[in-house]
Amino acid sequence: MDFEGNGLLTATVFLPLVGALLIAVLVRNNRHVRLVAGATIVIDLLLSVLVFTAYDLAKGGVQLVDRAPGWIPIDSFKVEYFLGVDGLSAPMVLLTGLLGFVAIFASWGIKERVREYFVWLLILQTAVMGVFTALDFILFFLLWELEMVPMFFLISIWGSGRREYSAMKFLIFTFLGSAFMLVGILIIFFSTGTFDMVELPGAMQGAKLLAPAWLVFSLIFVAFAVKLPVWPVHTWLPDAHTDAPTAVSIMLAGVLLKMGGYGMLRVSAAMFPDVMVDAAKFLIVLGVINVIYGAIVTLRQTDMKRLVAFSSISHMGYVLVGISSVVGVAGVVSPVGLTGAAMQMFTHGTITGLMFLMVGLAYEKAHTRHIPDLGGLATRMPIIAVGFLIAGLASLGLPGTSGFVSEILIFLGTFPVWGWWTGVAAFGVVITAGYILWMLQRTMFGPQLPRFSDVRDATKMEMVPVVALVAAVLVVGIYPAIISDYFSEGLTGIVNSIQQSAQLAMAQ
């Protein structure tokens, strides 16, 4: 089996797995487990930064390729080991590295079955990192499925409330989505003869599919829709989030949901430009429902964690809204909306990661997430309150934070195409401001309550992930090009092929 490439991506993807195996086999002492997991994830973060910076924007295209063509050769059915990054995936690798780091350090206080916990969290990191870098369709699918197992255990063992129910619900929804995706992948393969996700957009053009294109598109889209999640298949998400431990919520909201959006761009938009243009009208409707329905339901939440979970549904709706701009105006497709959608994935990852982190910290100190029971925490825990405030303001899209950048790009890109629909979606921002500020006011501010007179602020160890995420939120907010240049480059090819499809659709 030949291997090509410098191994950087392979190391980035599989280092956490190696760490996990090391912990599982060799390490017994809980303190050592944390140290090994911490060291692994710090190195992995550095590697992901290295991947991000090593990507040559001027050159573009797919870079840092690691490839072993003869991995699973079944006659013509050739499955390759094929990793690589382009402008679309490089920022996602960075995001995964960052949030993995945050998740491990947010788990420092885990007391129960410590060894198993870190093993599963590290395996999860490998699976997600792999999904964003895999360029062979079966490898992509393999890693996509692999991610379910650690999530199942993490929610069901270390969760709270109805954790077993939530974990099973997560599993069944995700598995059902990915099962249909497998059928789609196989049909694509037998129509084009390749699993190569770089070649496929080209190979799909003019290829005679074994099934109607819209059907294959739908089979695959279901998997991404469940993951994003899109109304009406979103119901697993509030349960999973509410019952998951803090670090797992961070991973779930921060990177796992992005797998859905990433798939829509990488697979649905790139390989099915024609169908995508036709489907845009459904996407905008679904997107607007997601945004508004999610926001309204969020308003009614009294549990902080459930509130952030529902706000994720609303915010992921913006990704759909951004993608729906693919239909273009008079045959001209602007890349702004798609770039906005991709940016929204990145920024929501950091912002919601921060939100869950702060909710987790506040819960740990105050022992309740029930908003009516809380109040005046800011005087006792100023640092947590500031972190929470920054997360909240970024979430409602305050200029200067990263949330503003992605939302403005999405609205700018979509308004010329969908007009009033975009206006309705933009109203979601108003509701967001409502629920975020209301929650902050009720929990952090107001009169100090005597029952919280002896809660403590975050320790230094707990500050590490907070600082990392606040920095990410502010840096991208002030200088968005650091990320958006990557996305623009990565989306060029997709925008061009959609442009052609949109013009064809116009001509007919």
């Binding site: 003869g70 699973i72 079944i74 197992v149 077993e164 059902l176 099962a179 059928v183 196989l186 049909i187």
Partner: protein
């Protein structure tokens, strides 16, 4: 009979020799576990012969003199592939029986000897190319299994064995009846000659297969084989027999007996009925059986509270996935990519053998200790037996078809073959069934990892069982991450069907 013939038959001969030697030793040796150990180690002999044969015979069996006993048996890579599988399965069964046989007051050696005789019958089944030999080898494999099923000598075990005997007898009769039709209309029992005669008959007739009576014969054959592979609606016997039998026998039934059934189906339908325009008929039949087996197996498995019964229904469901591959084979017969489906079925069989034996090894290790097969008694096994629980969880992941396991690769492979054959609807049924199966497999995992244990007493198991668990678990992982070796073997074996 020449020395070369003896060499070609050496795996079967040494199996019979080994079984008989064990029975004789039993008369003189008091420590029965020693005999069992000797028996497992002795399997090296037939295994060695099989490996030697694999490398000495060429890929093209027709070019060499590989037929034995007037051409009723043929030693090709297809047959040798299954011989590996049966020897491996019976070896694992031997390992996991070491403690289990303590439950029997008598006949501990006979237990393993019968398993060896049955395996010999299966090895012959894989090699046969003639209908009467096929029937005899099938009976040789089945009758010892009936005795084995009754070994516990309690109510359930006897009931299971009785059902197995009676229903097995009926299915054999149906099979024989089908063979009679085939013989009556073609005048021969050799599979290749049957194919030639059918070609002549159908050329001069507008009826399928040249005659409706022949079609009836083939339908009867499918019903007879369906019993062997526990395809719905011929699966009635399986849950009771699986639950009542000694657990090592259940493992052997669900893996080896099923593989033998697929071996003869592949051989008969490939060699005797390969005509392209006719093959459509049996593709639809297999597709329907596949959809039924998957759906019924998985839906009924959800309700089970006994792990053996759960695995019994899971076996029925997996028979369904295998039938998906078979239906794909059928739909493609005569096409260009013809070896895609059969190698998929062979790969799936090998992968299924490894993962199911892994699951059963753990079940036996645990049940030796807690003396119960109820799923609720597996509560907290992750604490009491961390390695066994992890191995069972991994095997169940593989049965669900989740990476990085052999079950994942196998499912992608057979579903791929089915899409290639234009059976997209069947693949959709298959993947939905995978999701259903996730529910009950994960329920077992949940009980092991989430419920609190009934006692803190650790589960200890002896070396042979640990060896069996270890080897099969490593197999599940290695074939799942680096399947190329097994794929090559499966391809070479499938290739032999066409030469």
């Amino acid at each position: 009979m020449t020395a070369h013939d003896l060499y070609l038959l050496s795996p079967e001969l040494s199996m019979v020799g080994l079984a008989t030697a064990l029975l004789l030793l039993d008369l003189f040796v008091a420590r029965k576990s020693l005999i069992l150990g000797l028996g497992v180690v002795g399997l090296i002999v037939p295994l060695g012969f099989t490996i030697a044969l694999w490398f000495t015979i060429g890929d093209d069996s027709a070019a060499e003199n590989t037929g034995v006993l007037a051409g009723t048996l043929v030693v090709d890579k297809f047959a040798l592939f299954f011989k590996f599988l049966f020897i491996g399965a019976v070896a694992v069964v031997g390992l996991i029986s070491v403690d289990y046989v303590q439950r029997f007051e008598r006949f501990r050696t006979e237990f393993f000897a019968l398993a060896l005789y049955s395996a010999t019958g299966m090895m012959l089944m894989a090699a046969t190319v003639e209908l009467i030999t096929l029937y005899i080898s099938l009976e040789l494999s089945s009758l010892p299994l009936v005795a084995l099923a009754a070994f516990l000598r309690d109510g359930r075990s006897s009931e299971g064995a009785m059902k197995f005997l009676v229903l097995g007898g009926i299915s054999s009769a149906i099979l024989l009846y089908g063979m009679v039709y085939v013989f009556g209309f073609t005048g021969t029992t050799y599979l290749d000659e049957v194919a030639a005669r059918i070609g002549d008959l159908s050329a001069n007739s507008d009826q399928p297969f040249g005659s409706y009576a022949l079609l009836l014969g083939i339908a009867l054959l499918i019903a007879g084989f369906g019993f062997k592979i526990t395809a719905v609606p011929f699966q009635m016997w399986a849950p009771d027999v699986y639950e009542g039998s000694p657990t090592p026998v259940t493992a052997f039934l669900s893996v080896a007996s099923k593989a033998a059934g697929f071996a003869i189906i592949l051989r008969v339908f490939y060699v005797a009925f390969p005509v392209e325009e006719l093959s459509i008929e049996w593709s639809a039949v297999f597709a329907a059986l596949a959809a039924l087996s998957m759906t019924v197996g998985n839906l009924v498995a959800i309700a089970q509270s006994n792990i053996k019964r759960l695995l019994a229904y899971s076996t029925i469901a997996h028979g369904g996935y295998l039938l998906v591959g078979l239906a794909a084979v059928a739909a493609r017969t005569g096409g260009d990519e013809v070896d895609f489906g059969p190698s998929g079925v062979l790969f799936y069989l090998a992968g299924y053998a490894v993962m199911n034996l892994a699951a059963f090894s753990v079940v036996i290790a645990i049940s030796n200790h807690i003396n119960s097969d109820a799923i609720k008694d597996y509560a907290g096994m992750a604490k009491r037996a961390p390695y066994l629980a992890a191995a069972l969880a991994f095997a169940l992941l593989s049965l669900t078809g989740i990476p990085p396991t052999v079950g994942f690769i196998a499912k992608v492979y057979v579903f791929g073959a089915a899409v290639n054959a234009g059976l997209e609807w069947l693949v959709v049924v298959g993947v939905i069934n995978s999701v259903i199966s996730a529910y009950y497999y994960f329920s077992v995992i949940k009980v092991m990892y989430l419920s609190s244990p009934q006692s803190d007493e650790p589960i200890l198991s002896r070396f042979p069982i640990r060896l069996a668990v270890g080897v099969t678990t490593v197999g599940v992982l290695v074939f799942g991450v680096y399947p190329i070796v097994l794929l090559d073997i499966a391809k070479a074996a499938a290739q032999a069907l066409f030469s």
